[in-house]
C-alpha cells in the first residue's frame, strides 16, 4: 500500500501505519512480526518494503507473533510486533510475563485501536493493558510522531529493559501526513541470547524478585515520563487548560488554537509532575481523551479538579465536530441531508465464493455461529445466514457449545435446529484448530464449514500458513485444513466448490443428517485477490425473466433491481454463475463482450 516516490523527497506523505514501519527501519529494527487486523495491518505490510534489513513475518496469531518477537528481543534484536486492539487479548498471556522478564533488544508492541468500531467487534481501550501489564505506553497524534515514537519506544525499552506499547487509533493509522525522513541507525552485530536463568526464567523462585524489580522499574519510568519529549506543555491562554493525548490533541488544537495544552504522548506511567505543574497554571482544566476516562480518573486521584467525560463523549470516536460543543463552539451552517436515502452497508463482493455457501445454507433451518472475516457480512439481508459472532475462532467452539446445550435441553418433544459453525481459512489457522480438536475429543456433532478463499481477505489480502507464501515473498508450505481436521480426529471431511450450489447443498444436507461432527472445506480463491473474474460477465434476458427475484436473494451488488427490471451490472459482474444456477427460467447467461474489452 505504501506509495513512496522513486526520487527521495525531503518529506514523504505517509499514513500513520507506514510511518511506524519507516520508524522501525530508521530505529534499526531487524525483526517485525504480527497478525493482520484493521486498522493495524499496513504497519507490517509497509515494513516488508525494508525486507533487506528487517525480517518480517505474518504469524498465525498475535500470541505467536508476540512470542516470536519476545524471542528476537531476548536475543538482542530491536523488534516490533503489530496487531489490532482485540489481537492484544490473544497476546495478553505472553505480555503479562514478558513485563517481568523484561527485554534485551528494544521491543515495541504496536497496537491499533478502533474507536468508533469502523472495522471491529468492540472498542476496547488498549491503555488499560499498560497498567494491567505494567508496561509503558506511548500514543502518537500524527504520522510524524508515529515514526518518531518508534525510536523513542526503542530507547525507553532498552534503557529500562521493558516492552513498550505503542498505541495508535484508526484516525492516526489511516490518516496520512507529511513526514520528515531520516536515515537508518547503524545496527551492531547481534550478541545473541546471554544465558541468565535468574533474569529469564520466571519460576516462582526467580519470579518473586522479578516482581520487585518490576515495581522499581515502574518508578523509574514514571520519573522519566515527566521529562520525556513525548509530553510537553504548550502555554497559551491560561483561562482554559486542556490535557489531550493521541489524535484528540489535533482536534483540540484545531478548535482551540489559543488554549494552554498539556500534550501527552507518553500516557502511562502518568507524568504526574507535569500534570501538577500544568493544572496549577490554568484556571479551568479539561481532559480530552478518546474512549475510557483513564487520564481523567488519574488526574482526580491526584486531588486535582477537572472536567472530562461530563463534556466529552466516551462512546465512539472523537472528532473536532464532536468536541466543538464541549469547547463551547457552534457548528457552522451546512447543507441539509436527505433522510430517505437507501443505506449502503458493506457487502460481500460480486463473485465472492462465500455467497455460494450462504445461499446453500439458506436451504436449511440451522443456527450459524460465525467468525471474524469477510463472511461476517453474511449477517445482512438478504442473506441473513450468520446468527452470532464472538471472536477469532469462536465460530467453531460456540457451535460445539450450542450443540452440547441442545443435547441436554431436556425437551425431547421438539427438535432444535442443528448448529453450523463458519470460519475462514486464516481464522482457522489463527485459533480455530483447537476448537475443532475439542469437537472431536469431546464427541461433538456440529458441522464446521471452513470458507477457504486462500487468503486473509477482509484486512486486504495477507498471506497465512495456507497460502504457500511468506510475507518475505518466498514460497513455503501450504498448510491443509483437511489435514488438520484428520489430525484432530474428524472422520467426515468433505471439500466442495462453493460456486457449485448443488454440490454444496447436498454436502451440507449430508452433514446435518449425521450424528457425527463434519468438516466441510468450501474452497475457492478470493477473486478480488486473484484480480480476475471467475468467468465471463452474465446478462439477464428480459424476455425470459419472470421477475421471481431468486437471483436478488443472493445479495450480489452486481445484480440490480431498478425501473422494474432486473439486470446484471456487467462492469461489476465476476461471472461466478450463482445467479444462473438459482434462475429457474434460464434467463441468465453469458453477456457479449463490450467494445472496449481487450
Amino acid at each position: 500500500m505504501a506509495i513512496m516516490s522513486h526520487t527521495k523527497p525531503p518529506r514523504a506523505l505517509l499514513s500513520g501505519n507506514e510511518a511506524i514501519a519507516r520508524g522501525a527501519w530508521e530505529a534499526g529494527v531487524t525483526v517485525a512480526t504480527g497478525y493482520p487486523g484493521t486498522p493495524s495491518t499496513e504497519i507490517l505490510e509497509s515494513a516488508r518494503a525494508f525486507a533487506n534489513d528487517i525480517y518480517c513475518e505474518w504469524s498465525p496469531n498475535e500470541k505467536v507473533a508476540l512470542e516470536v518477537a519476545a524471542g528476537a528481543c531476548l536475543a538482542g534484536a530491536r523488534t516490533i510486533v503489530t496487531m489490532k486492539h482485540v489481537g492484544l487479548n490473544v497476546a495478553a498471556d505472553p505480555l503479562m510475563t514478558l513485563a517481568y522478564i523484561g527485554t534485551v533488544g528494544g521491543l515495541a508492541i504496536c497496537v491499533a485501536d478502533d474507536p468508533g468500531m469502523h472495522s471491529s467487534q468492540n472498542e476496547q481501550d488498549t491503555r488499560h493493558y499498560a497498567r494491567f501489564g505494567k508496561v509503558p505506553i506511548l500514543e502518537p497524534s500524527d504520522s510524524q510522531e508515529a515514526k518518531d515514537f518508534v525510536a523513542l519506544a526503542m530507547q525507553i525499552s532498552e534503557t529500562h529493559s521493558t516492552p513498550v506499547l505503542l498505541r495508535s487509533t484508526t484516525r492516526v493509522s489511516h490518516s496520512s501526513g507529511a513526514v520528515a525522513l531520516g536515515e537508518r541507525r547503524p545496527t551492531a552485530p547481534l550478541q545473541g541470547f546471554q544465558k541468565n536463568p535468574q533474569r529469564f526464567v520466571p519460576i516462582p523462585l526467580y519470579g518473586r524478585p522479578m516482581r520487585v524489580r518490576l515495581e522499581e522499574r515502574l518508578a523509574a519510568l514514571a520519573a522519566a515520563a515527566n521529562t520525556s519529549p513525548a509530553n510537553r506543555i504548550e502555554w497559551g491562554d491560561r483561562s482554559l487548560g486542556i490535557i489531550a493525548e493521541g489524535i484528540a490533541y489535533q482536534y483540540v488544537r484545531e478548535l482551540a488554537p489559543d488554549a494552554s495544552v498539556l500534550k501527552i504522548g507518553w500516557v502511562w506511567p502518568f507524568p504526574d509532575e507535569l500534570i501538577r505543574e500544568f493544572a496549577a497554571g490554568v484556571r479551568r482544566l479539561l481532559i480530552v481523551e478518546e474512549l475510557d476516562p483513564i487520564l481523567e480518573e488519574h488526574v482526580r486521584s491526584l486531588g486535582i479538579a477537572c472536567e472530562g467525560r461530563s463534556l466529552v463523549p466516551g462512546i465512539g470516536e472523537l472528532s473536532s465536530d464532536r468536541l466543538a460543543a464541549a469547547l463551547g463552539k457552534s457548528a457552522p451552517a451546512s447543507f441539509k441531508i436527505d433522510a430517505d436515502l437507501p443505506a449502503r452497508p458493506p457487502v460481500l463482493c460480486p463473485a465472492c465464493p462465500h455467497r455460494g455457501i450462504f445461499s446453500a445454507l439458506g436451504k436449511f433451518d440451522v443456527v450459524v455461529t460465525g467468525d471474524i472475516g469477510c463472511y461476517s457480512l453474511g449477517v445482512f439481508p438478504p442473506l441473513k445466514r450468520i446468527d452470532t459472532i464472538l471472536c477469532m475462532g469462536g465460530g467453531i467452539s460456540m457451535a460445539h457449545g450450542m450443540q452440547k446445550a441442545d443435547e441436554k435441553s431436556g425437551d425431547t418433544s421438539r427438535t432444535l435446529p442443528k448448529v453450523v459453525g463458519i470460519v475462514g481459512d486464516s481464522t482457522f489457522f489463527h485459533s480455530g484448530i483447537t476448537g475443532l480438536l475439542d469437537i472431536a475429543y469431546n464427541k461433538g456433532a456440529a458441522t464446521i464449514i471452513v470458507v477457504d478463499n486462500r487468503i486473509t481477505a477482509m484486512t486486504g489480502h495477507q498471506d497465512h500458513p495456507g497460502t504457500g507464501r511468506t510475507l518475505m515473498g518466498e514460497d513455503t508450505i501450504s498448510a491443509s485444513v483437511e489435514d488438520f481436521g484428520r489430525a484432530c480426529g474428524i472422520k467426515n471431511i468433505a471439500t466442495v466448490d462453493p460456486y457449485d450450489l448443488k454440490e454444496s447443498i447436498e454436502t451440507i444436507g449430508k452433514a446435518l443428517g449425521s450424528d457425527e461432527p463434519w468438516l466441510i472445506v468450501a474452497r475457492s480463491p478470493c477473486p478480488l485477490h486473484a484480480r480476475k473474474s471467475v468467468g465471463p460477465a452474465r446478462r439477464v434476458d428480459q424476455e425470459l425473466c419472470k421477475k421471481c427475484k431468486a437471483c436478488l436473494r443472493l445479495g450480489c451488488p452486481a445484480i440490480e433491481w431498478a425501473n422494474d427490471e432486473i439486470r446484471v451490472n456487467e462492469l461489476l459482474c465476476g461471472g461466478c454463475t450463482l445467479c444462473e444456477q438459482v434462475c429457474k427460467e434460464g434467463a441468465i447467461a453469458i453477456a457479449a463482450a463490450g467494445a472496449c474489452h481487450e
Partner: protein
Amino acid sequence: MSKTTSIVMVGVGGQGILLATQIAARAALIMGFDVKTNEVHGMAQRGGSVVAQIRFGEKVFSPLVPEGTADVLVSLERIEALRFAGFLSPDGIAVVSSQAIIPVTVSSGQAKYPSDAEDRLRKTFRRLAYIDAVGVAERLCDTRVANVILLGAMSASLDLPAECWQEAIAQCVKPKFKEMNISAFEEGKRLAVSV
C-alpha cells in the same frame, strides 16, 4: 495563518477513491503545503459508502474535515453526494459523477433508490458540477479512470498549478497508465470549466 483547504471525496468501496485521495494529497505536498488525509480501510470498504478527506494549508491539525467546511465535495456516485452533503461549506462546490450504483438494500427490496437524484442535487447544492464521468471514461476506453476525471474536474476549483497535478499523477500510477490518467484528468478539468 492562511486558510486550510478541505476536500471530501465520497463514493462506493472499489471506485478508486484511495488513489484519487493520494493524487490530490501529493499535488498539495509538491506545492509545499502541510497535508493531512484520512481514508477508510477494512470492512467499511467492501462495497459500502466510503469517505476520504484531504486537508492542506500552512499548518493542518485535524485530518478530519469539520462539517460545513469542505471547499469541495467530490462524489463518484450520484446519491453519495446527497448522503455526505453535510461536509460541504455553503459556498463550496459539489463535483458529482452521474453514475448510479444501486445498493443491495435497494435490489433486495428494503429501500428505494431516488429516481429524482439529479433534481435533488440541483436543489441541494448552490454550486454543482454534474458530470458523466463514466461516459467520458468509456470514450477513453478505460472505465477505471472515472475517479481521475472527477479529480480533474475538482482541480478547476482549487488553486494548485497543473505541474503539481501532473507530477502527483506520475508518482501515484504505474508508468504505463500515466498518459491515460493525465488525459482523463485534463478531460475532467475541461468538463468542469464548461459547466
